[in-house]
Symmetry: D2
Subunit: 376 residues, 4 copies
């Protein structure tokens, strides 16, 4: 058994999902490698200590550069706001650390390209936390696609709908709401939510060629969470785009934080010549599947309860009929990362994979700004 | 083209569904026979006239015995409260009329037996309006069962849940609420709702052997709709029973008018060795179907939208994806009755078929009264 | 009781839905006016005769100009392919006939404008068969919107997904498949399906400002249904567009005949500040409704079974829990047209209303052709 | 922080769910007590070692009597087949250990009564793993009921449907299939599945008075998993029963392992005067709720996605819209047990609570054997 000694930078919501994933992966999945929560890094050491204690981090660092210097750290997990990803990742690569970086990869594709070059030059293992690929129903969709059951693809559509920022009283900036602050986040729903949709789409349906997008900022001013000052809102509250995939299929994407009634409704659907599939995050343990080759009189969308041992990842959990939840997607990603260390095969999505998503995001934002079609 | 000259007795809710069915069947289904709305019969001729005018009945009779004497009537449609079925049907049979009788067949099996003997002695066509057999999704279920896809049957369950009598202010008796009056209806939910469930069950799954039932009357007194007097409630507000079918499968039935949130939720489910099906009246155009022979990783309940031309009755309506409604079940029953006249094959369910349902209802009520298992 | 003497031109699928609607509206809805099926008009009189007989048309004409000359015709119902709408409507207006025209109004907005001017100059009642407004659940959505429950609107999305032309063996042109022939139809899914989505959207959410669209023709050549010759396909097989509404909300529309698994899935969703609604044609009797003012712990999307007497149109049908179907939307439109004759209030959507939809369709097709945003 | 030193007996499926729960409860819920996985006990120490290593048990015992003698064990977790519960629990009580016992409590009520007396005499904390009470949606149902929103209760129905023993090739007995062996399990679906339904029912709706049940054994002979010998099957494959609750409501319960298409479909529904609720295990993160006090035109069943911070237990997990799974119900039960140690309030369900469920199970089996109503 080899240790994979983790140094985590940041301890917000994602810090919690990742910490849980490291511990759970070791319990539920076999690997020669076992994660060890070696160090947590946060500017304010005192505030971070309870988190470290709860999850069993052996130490707390207050300067990520110090963390990178430590010999007892194999891998750095970057859970900071987006505007810090680049610097940390490049330095970590130079320090020879493996890097597991939160999504989106960077503030823009230019940053992302630098990061890719850094990890590739250093030859360090790298992965980006596009966790939804590892929801078993989504992994199953990939498996079905690869089996050829769908045939030629005509349509792909995805959206990610939330409603938590409708109130103008929600602040921006600070630890809890940095995702609304354009300085920290780079963009709004495009980088936060659409990036997930795009990553899955490219994984399932291949590259995106060109896009036509529109964005909107419904609430124009918000108070800053820390300073209390009223500021202009710089992010996109909502974004929708049309696109064409390399395989000739048409794409339709939408994301918003103003869709009353939807908490975190990531849905995707893909229509092929012979079969179609759809999935949504609010019932993430189900995959809807339609197969035109079924006998006509009993043909219909099948609601597949993805909880059987022969479905992706599910053999490691409970018994048929007993569902898993959101957090397991991270556990599966850790499990696959560990397996990649066992086998030497690179883990996915790599920085390079995530850069493609970043390029689409950039094209989307540029298309919206210029009100015209943009090539990726 | 031969005329089928109808004399309808009663003009309540069922009178409306039947009148519509006669007219629509002629438009949407082919037959050598065409229904003609010859006469409506109602005690109060004046009050019935607008109904007759609306539907195009050529005349109105106030005495059903006079109606039976008329030479220009081929078939009598009995839409009266249950306590009049027997007398009318027997006299109609003697008069050589075909009889289409509302369900349940009679007040009890003894009455029903007399009625069967009468129509069989007279050799007149006879049918009972258990309309749900002709909902296309239910007819499709029958077709699937007959194809053998389900294999050995283990379970059958059905319920019919309503909530319209929860308020103690709902009266009983009179034209609109005779179904709550034990004198007119014979029983409560057993004859009104469970009879439907039982008819479909026997049709799909064969005869019922024995039952253990319980009933309840939640509201003990109601005002009479016409007299305004407070009366004891004599009907069963709710009834549930266990049973065993001849084929060895177990049955579970329930009906109530006290299930808050359900308007008219007739559901049925049948579980076989290889496949299962379920259906509900609130989405009557869908059949849920599960086939264990589907490949494991994409196996799931299929939601079959029964609107294709190769599904029962649907070739006569619109195009795939466009659903029909409740009233069409009656239209289909008329269409099948007309076809039976074309071919000489008897229509179903006959009085004799409906008598079997009546016997189960009787056993259910007796079982509930005696608190013990009862053979049918 | 005044007669409304109908002359119907064309007797395809829409001829059937309209004929049924005229007869059913008279039975189920009160009005001082009663439709009379006076004449059917079709080029081939012989082939049309059985249809006329079935529905009770008193006569059959082979030349629509002759029909317009008849004094015993009050209203003309235009059920021809789209390329004949303009000429017939203009001549009918000149002849002083009321006009009920199938959708889309015309081949393009220029034609539509001529038609509007013609009916307005003649002062004849006019209406376009955008029937989905009268699905009770959709009418209920309109009522809810007008009550102000939703507050400021952020998003509107709709799609109309079919799969019946995926096979390259489906022909184009001829009586059954003229909708695939650009000469007869003007466009593909844009005029056939998106026009419905746009009409409802404008009715519910107000005018559309500008659009960015893309279209695709997946199957490039098809055989002509009558000549058997292989031809280029001129229609759009699929079309998607982004748009902005006058009220500041964002719109997303998509239609295709290549979405495997969807027969006729028209869905719409509208997200407001306080509430949201969604509906789909495959379960047309339900409206999904989310109200943020519900108590938090029991807040959720409500599945409203639109079958109660106090919901639009439903008081004229059956009892709570018993659903109606597709055809009833036409019956309701006739009923409302008759009521407009009773009251003198114009019926909707008028030609002028439908012209606005036409202008959006034109802008969509132009945007797709030019790959840029287009103002309506 | 006080340690709660666990000695677990048995390491099958339930051993896994409990081990995970101890670790996760400590991470996600606050308490003064922290579980420590002190010892695992299993007859075959060697086979149990990998399980102990994986979960971090500090030692492995092969004799549960030795375990009970250890001073460093505070609580014993009984995960053995049912036929060992009584002896272990009574001895553990005598040894002054807290006891967390898997369900059902015992082989029958007589055994259960002895166990209750033992723990009550010893004054040791005791709890039975009826985990479904702690699914957040079910806990929410309890909270809603206690708020009085439902009013008078008319109906309760529950079923637990599986399909994994349809094949006659499934063996009985042994480590994996002891639940099919009447010697080890005591009964079939009654103790395994209906016991869950009954526990929840009593918790939500109060005591059950009397029952009328039927059972069936569809496959009469099976091979023993270890000996390979063909044996008679002694368990009930399916069981259904009617009952009356003390509060006057009617109950209907069913369980089977022969319902093709259902993996582990535990559903419950409760109908009150003013509101109704339903839930099912296949989508355990949702509660369906109907409130008659909603405005009529927008009244419908609400699908409540139980993932908000103000809903039971969910404040300790992720963010709204992100669901949890099956295993979390055990984590919540541990969290509540720890809280009970913090506060001194007894944890539920206690042995005494579980005895009531056992008595209903006994009455059900007796009723089925005697084919008559049985008082509990």
């Amino acid at each position: 058994m080899k240790e994979l000694r983790i140094g985590m930078i940041g301890y917000g919501f994602m810090g919690k999902t990742h910490s849980n994933a490291y511990l759970q992966a070791a319990r539920f999945f076999d690997s020669e490698h076992k994660p060890v929560l070696k160090a947590l890094c946060a500017r304010n050491q005192e505030k971070a200590q309870p988190f470290a204690d709860n999850w069993g981090y052996e130490s707390v660092e207050s300067d990520w550069r110090e963390l990178l210097k430590r010999d007892d750290i194999d891998a750095v997990d970057v859970c900071t706001p987006n505007n810090l990803h680049k610097e940390i990742a490049i330095e970590a690569a130079k320090a020879g650390k493996m890097i597991l970086c939160e999504k989106p990869l960077a503030m823009d594709a230019a940053e992302g390209e630098e990061m890719c070059q850094a990890v590739e030059a250093a030859g360090v293992a790298n992965m980006v936390w596009y966790n939804y690929r590892r929801v078993p129903a989504v992994s199953l969709a990939k498996q079905i696609l690869e089996s050829g059951k769908l045939g030629r693809i005509f349509h792909y559509r995805a959206n990610f709908l939330q409603d938590w920022t409708i109130s103008a009283d929600v602040p921006q900036g600070g630890a809890a709401t940095w995702r609304l602050d354009v300085e920290a986040a780079g963009s709004g729903v495009t980088g936060d939510l659409l990036a997930h949709c795009i990553d899955t789409a490219i994984w399932l349906n291949g590259s995106i060629n060109n896009v036509s997008a529109m964005t909107e900022t419904f609430v124009k001013e918000r108070v800053h969470a820390e300073t209390g000052e009223k500021q202009a809102v710089g992010i996109d509250d909502a974004c929708a785009f049309l696109c064409r995939f390399d395989n000739g299929s048409m794409g339709l994407f939408e994301s918003t934080r103003y869709a009353r009634g939807h908490k975190a409704l990531y849905t995707l659907e893909i229509n092929g010549e012979h079969a179609s599939m759809r999935w949504d995050l609010h019932d993430l343990h189900r995959l809807e599947y339609f197969d035109h080759s079924d006998e006509g009189i009993v043909r219909g969308w099948r609601s597949v309860h993805v909880s059987d041992g022969d479905q992706p990842y599910m053999g490691n959990w409970w018994v048929p009929g007993l569902q898993i939840g959101y957090e397991h997607s991270f556990t599966h990603q850790v499990a696959d990362f560990l397996k990649s260390l066992d086998t030497g095969e690179p883990a996915a999505p790599s920085f390079r994979d995530a850069l493609e998503t970043q390029k689409v995001c950039d094209a989307v934002l540029k298309s919206a700004a210029d009100s015209r079609w943009e090539n990726v």
